[in-house]
Structures are given as structure tokens and as C-alpha cells.
């Protein structure tokens, strides 16, 4: 065989094999087989009871509407790592005019219901947070919708959130968050509007839902820029450790988030507010060792003050053997608390 031909065949085979692997991965990204499996198994039947949880220990999964979430969704995985709870956002995209398609809402509600049942069947407590974003925007980068759209999608989202809350009540979901990260940079609603909306929706959620209600926020902008949120009436608050910042900054901002939550709660006369900390990577999308550091920092420093300890499972990092063992060890300690 000619030397060039041999090189060509070898290199071509290597690159084509990589093409194949990438194709398989992309195909897997879009398939809903993993999600469908769960939905089929746990649809129908009587709801499972609402659990009383002293300390929420578990995984905060990425949006269940995404295929990547399916990498670490099996309830056996959660039990094996020592979790007693799972938190997840469920989303409905809004259209270009800020409205939501009723069919989409119904489909997502039923999908979320199936997931809730799937986890609750083995005794896991469920924290469900509802979120929205523009159709076609898949959550990467800062995205700031025009003013009229902000008003429209937020107003229309009230009914969507209430619909999810109704389902949460029917299924005895332990904790419900009316809007996941309403204050995040890419929604850019401004702290005042975010705070007002969360107060406005609270009354409507209370009418249909009797579990704990959570103010799940990013808090980064508020803490950095010195804004405050009205936490009156909320049972819980949760935040993720900040990304895209150096470790000393992450540590300092995490401390600030917790102290500010306490201060806002005190201002609102809400002394019983339970705070859940979620340890995430320090950069996007992050590496397992970053989550190890963040969990040590968050759980170690704030073990006595937090009511919940969760790990953000961005890109299924938790399956990394070193991180898995580390988190398992932490969860064992925290469950002894």
C-alpha cells in the first residue's frame, strides 16, 4: 500500500470514528427515550404522600425538559448517593409575543407529574421550580428581552405557574418554587419587578398549594448591586453558588447571599425562613473538582445554618467517580445532622 494511502486510511478511520461518536452523542441529545421511560412507568395511580423533611439533602438536576438531565435521573442513583430530595426546574417556553401555548403547558405539567411520581415512589422529597424562557433561546449567554416582552411573558406566566402549583398540590410535592431564578441576568427583569412578581404570585399559589413555597433565586445581581427582595410569606429560599468567578469571590458572594437572605427575611418579619444552598461549579459548564471545592466550601462553612444541602448536577458531573464518592460522604454526614 502506498505510504500516503496508508496514512490517509488511518487518519480517515480515526476522524470518521470520531464523527460517528459525535453523531451518536448528538442523536442521544435529542432522543427522549430516557424521559419517556420514566413517564410511561409512573403515570397514573394514587399520589404518594407528602414527606416531612428536616434537612433537604440531594441533587438539583438540570431542567427535566432537556436530554442532558436524563443522564442522572434514575431514582436508584439518588438513593445510592444518599439523597433524600431532588430539586428540578420544569420549563415552558414563551412565544415571540410573550404567550404560552396551552398544549405546551399541559404537556409539561403531565411530564413533570410523571417525574414527581417517579421520585416520590421511593420516598424522595421533591422540590419543583417552574421556569420560562424564549422559545429557541436555550439558556446560554446573557439575553435581555425587549421591555414589552418582559411585561407580557411575566404576566402570562402567572397562570402557568398556578397550573404547575395545582399539579404540585395534587401530587403532594414537598416544595414548590413559582419561578426558578426570576432575577437571573438573562431574564433581566430587575430586582424590583422580580420581587413584586414573586409577592403577587404568592397569594395565588397559596390558594391552590399547601406545601412549602420557595423563593428560588440567583441573587447574584441583587447581592452585587445591593438590592433586596421581599421574602414575606415564603417558607424557603434557595440559591446556587456563583459561577464564572474566582474561588475567593465565590466564597465571599456565597456568604453574602446567605447573610442577605437572612437580612431580607428579618426585614419581612419572616424569621423561620429555611435556606437551601446548592453547590455548583465555579465556571460554566464546570468540572467535577470545582463542585468538590464548592460543596466543601458551602456545606463545611454553612453546615449549621442551612436547611438544605444540594449539589447542582450540571452536565451530570455527579457521575464522576471522585465527585460521586465525595458527595456521598458529605450526604452521609449531613443526613446524620
Amino acid at each position: 500500500m502506498k505510504a500516503n494511502t496508508r496514512k490517509t486510511v488511518i487518519l480517515g478511520a480515526i476522524v470518521l470514528a470520531l464523527y460517528g461518536l459525535v453523531f451518536v452523542r448528538i442523536a442521544g441529545h435529542f432522543t427522549t427515550r430516557g424521559v419517556q421511560f420514566l413517564v410511561d412507568e409512573d403515570h397514573g395511580g394514587a399520589p404518594y404522600p407528602r414527606r416531612k423533611v428536616e434537612s433537604y439533602v440531594g441533587i438539583w438536576a438540570p431542567s427535566l425538559s432537556r436530554r442532558e438531565a436524563a443522564a442522572f435521573v434514575k431514582r436508584e442513583d439518588f438513593l445510592a448517593i444518599g439523597a433524600n430530595a431532588i430539586g428540578f426546574p420544569v420549563g415552558v417556553d414563551y412565544e415571540s409575543d410573550g404567550t404560552y401555548k396551552a398544549r405546551d403547558v399541559q404537556e409539561r405539567v403531565e411530564r413533570a407529574r410523571a417525574f414527581v411520581r417517579y421520585y416520590k415512589k421511593v420516598g424522595l422529597a421533591v422540590i419543583m421550580a417552574v421556569q420560562t424562557r424564549a422559545r429557541g433561546n436555550i439558556g446560554v449567554g446573557i439575553w435581555n428581552p425587549p421591555e414589552h416582552l418582559k411585561t407580557a411573558y411575566l404576566k402570562n406566566f402567572e397562570d402557568v405557574s398556578v397550573r404547575f402549583a395545582q399539579m404540585a398540590e395534587e401530587e403532594n410535592v414537598e416544595v414548590f418554587a413559582p419561578f426558578n431564578d426570576i432575577d437571573r441576568g438573562d431574564r433581566y427583569l430587575g430586582p424590583q419587578r422580580a420581587s413584586d412578581w414573586m409577592q403577587k404570585i404568592l397569594a395565588r399559589i397559596r390558594e391552590v398549594y399547601s406545601g412549602k413555597i420557595m423563593w428560588k433565586g440567583d441573587l447574584f445581581l441583587a447581592v452585587r448591586e445591593g438590592h433586596s427582595f421581599d421574602l414575606a410569606g415564603y417558607d424557603m429560599a434557595a440559591f446556587v453558588t456563583p459561577v464564572s468567578a474566582g474561588r475567593p469571590v465565590v466564597e465571599a458572594i456565597t456568604d453574602r447571599k446567605i447573610s442577605e437572605l437572612r437580612r431580607w427575611a428579618a426585614t419581612a418579619g419572616n424569621s423561620n425562613l429555611e435556606i437551601v444552598g446548592i453547590a455548583g461549579p465555579t465556571s460554566f459548564p464546570g468540572k467535577p473538582e470545582q463542585v468538590i471545592w464548592a460543596s466543601d466550601m458551602l456545606f463545611g462553612r454553612h453546615r449549621d445554618t442551612l436547611a438544605g444541602f444540594m449539589v447542582l448536577d450540571l452536565i451530570a458531573n455527579v457521575k464522576d467517580p471522585k465527585l460521586y464518592a465525595h458527595i456521598q460522604q458529605w450526604f452521609a454526614q449531613l443526613n446524620e445532622n
Binding site: 500516503n4 494511502t5 490517509t8 487518519l11 480517515g12 464523527y19 459525535v22 446560554v140 459548564p285 450540571l314
Partner: protein, 96 residues
């Protein structure tokens, strides 16, 4: 001692360069360094996509944001190197 060998088909070189930019150059033995560099770049991108599931989200978001610019640029590069390899073969290639 160099041996003159039958030149490869220009179509094969062009097709290889179109499918895997750089491979056609390696096949015809011309612009070999460029060929290896393009293949290495290709492999790096593929490994990045394989190593990080979230990269897909990023890539798709980028494509959505830039609409047709990235696919069009990739097509232009692919077609360019394919045409280049085709013409190189027609001009005569020596296999050593």
C-alpha cells in the same frame, strides 16, 4: 531514489478534503503540513464535543445566534480545500 507513481484521482482528493478537511492533502502528498493541521483542528473540535455534553447546547446556541454564518463558513472552507486539492491533482502530483 524517487519513484514516479500513478497520480491519485482528483475526485477522491476533493471528496476526502470535503469530508475531512486536510485528509485530501495528506492523500495527495501536497500541502501535507496544512493537511495535518486541519485534521488536528478537526479532531480537537470533535474531542471537545465528545468530552462535554453541554458543548452541544453552546454550539447550537451559537448557530442559532449567528444563523447561517457558521454553517456557511464551514461549507466555504470545505469546498475551498476540496477544489484546491482537485486542482493540485490536475496540475500533477508526485507520490514519493
Amino acid at each position: 531514489m524517487k519513484t514516479e507513481m500513478t497520480a491519485p484521482g482528483p475526485g477522491i482528493a476533493a471528496t476526502l478534503n470535503l469530508l475531512i478537511p486536510g485528509l485530501g492533502y495528506v492523500y495527495i502528498g501536497r500541502r501535507v503540513k496544512l493537511g495535518y493541521a486541519l485534521i488536528a483542528l478537526n479532531v480537537l473540535v470533535l474531542l471537545y464535543l465528545l468530552s462535554d455534553p453541554f458543548a452541544f447546547v453552546g454550539v447550537f446556541a451559537l448557530i442559532i445566534k449567528t444563523r447561517l454564518i457558521i454553517p456557511a463558513a464551514a461549507l466555504v472552507v470545505g469546498v475551498s480545500v476540496a477544489v484546491d486539492a482537485y486542482r493540485l491533482v490536475l496540475r500533477g502530483v508526485r507520490f514519493a
